[in-house]
Amino acid sequence: MGNALNNTNLGGFPKEYNPRIHGAYQADRFYGTPDKPFSSLKVNEVFQWLNRRDMSLTGIARFYSRKLYSHQRRYHLSAGSKGVGFVHFALFFSFLGFIRAYKHDRHLDDGKYH
């Protein structure tokens, strides 16, 4: 079973990363083939764009990690940040808590005064 892990890339750099081209590794940058940004897509291009993306577990994990590092760099590690990073972190997890607690009070929807 250990032989199945011989050609995997666990904990390593992405395959597309080449220090000769990209320089030192930065966790908040994407090193794959450049593609259109999501905000400039038209609706009929969205599925094609998503098919081109790496939707594996490692790909999703890399996306999440990249977004965390970029948010950290922009709002937490910048000069004069004054706790904005902490506030965003708290708001995000508050929203997740809201989603988790959505079903908590659904029995009150049937009531007359709620």
């Binding site: 220090p19 081209i21 320089g23 590690l77 004069g80 908590h104 929807d109």
Partner: protein
């Protein structure tokens, strides 16, 4: 994984799951770089380990008890002290001595030919070589030197704010956020309980503080209160400490000055004692004088009394003798003589 062109294989299948040794020379690194496979290359390579070092690594990896390297870097009693004397020719500059100090010692040169300069040169060649795309992937920027992006209302990025303006105007964000909350409350997504009103109280209080009269009052009152608190809890204690320290310094200076005057005090005390002794001497002198004088006065009084007694006795005796010797005819004659004198006087007196 076999080496190309009949070289020794990098890994033998019979060994099973082993740690691959890092490549021993830059040729292997080049070969792997050409394959664009960077997963087997540690980016801090050590093309410097000898066969002995690799063997030590393998044995240490397999055994839970053995240490790498054996004995050499164990902590010994007395400290791990190594003293080296380096012979350099006359005229060696400081820079040369420093570069020499970065080299490995003679007995370790074959074991660890590790050159920091070579490593840095290789890193520079790799990271800033001809293929480097500085336009799309610029070099590392310290995030602490970059200012924070603009923020509105303490956590909303300005980019989001401005992106909504062409679609929903200047008040778009506010309408969406506040109206969205009210819409969700009305639909029942955000459940309206006793706790929800407390969320709105904070918003109402915030809006209340934005009113100009309240703003004016607060801009006067809040600094006043903060200054009071600051004085009470920050400036006051610090000033107390400073004053206490000044007082201690003054007391210490006073003590120093008093110590400087102690010889004078000694002389004054000596003089005090001398004065007391003088006083005692004078008292005793006076006492002696008075005693002697009293005794002499007594002698004088005794002599006077005796003389007076003798005088009075003599006078009394003489008069008594005289009076005893007075006969009646003498007395008669005396009276007659007195009368005759009176007659003569009365003749000469003028009335």
């Amino acid at each position: 994984a076999t080496g190309s062109k009949g070289e020794a294989p990098l890994w033998n299948e019979e060994d099973g799951w082993v740690v691959l040794d890092p490549p021993s020379d830059t040729a292997v690194v080049e070969r792997l770089a050409k394959q664009e496979d960077w997963s087997n290359v540690h980016y801090l390579t050590r093309p410097d380990l000898s066969q002995q070092e690799k063997q030590w690594f393998k044995e240490a990896y397999k055994s839970p008890y053995k240490l790498y390297p054996p004995e050499k870097f164990l902590l010994k009693r007395g400290g791990n002290v190594v003293v080296e004397y380096v012979r350099v020719p006359v005229g060696t500059t400081r820079r040369q001595m420093i570069e020499k100090s970065f080299e490995a010692p003679e007995d370790e040169k074959d074991i660890a030919p590790f050159d920091l300069k070579k490593q840095w040169a290789w890193a520079n060649k790799v990271l800033f070589g001809p293929q480097r795309d500085m336009k799309n992937y610029p070099s590392y920027v310290d995030p602490g030197t970059v200012p924070r992006p603009e923020i509105v209302h303490k956590f909303v990025p300005r980019s989001l704010f401005d992106a909504m303006v062409p679609y929903s105007g200047v008040t778009g964000f506010y309408v969406l956020s506040v109206g969205g909350v009210f819409a969700l409350v009305g639909k029942g997504v955000i459940v309206s309980t006793y706790a929800l009103s407390y969320f709105f109280y904070f918003g109402i209080a915030w809006a209340f503080t934005k009113l100009p009269p309240v703003r004016r009052f607060l801009d006067n009152r809040v600094p006043q209160l903060t200054n009071r608190l600051n004085e009470m809890y920050y400036v006051g204690p610090i000033q107390q400490k400073k004053d206490h320290i000044s007082a201690c310094i003054a007391a210490a200076q006073q003590t120093k000055d008093m110590i400087q005057q102690l010889p004078k005090l000694y002389d004054v005390q000596i003089e005090n004692v001398d004065l007391q002794l003088e006083n005692n001497y004078r008292d005793r002198l006076k006492q002696a004088f008075t005693e002697v004088k009293s005794r002499l006065d007594c002698q004088v009084a005794l002599a006077a009394t005796k003389a007076e007694l003798e005088k009075d006795y003599m006078i009394d005796w003489i008069t008594n003798q005289v009076v005893q010797n007075i006969t009646p005819d003498l007395e008669k004659k005396n009276i007659q003589s007195c009368l005759a004198q009176l007659q003569t006087l009365s003749k000469s007196a003028k009335i």
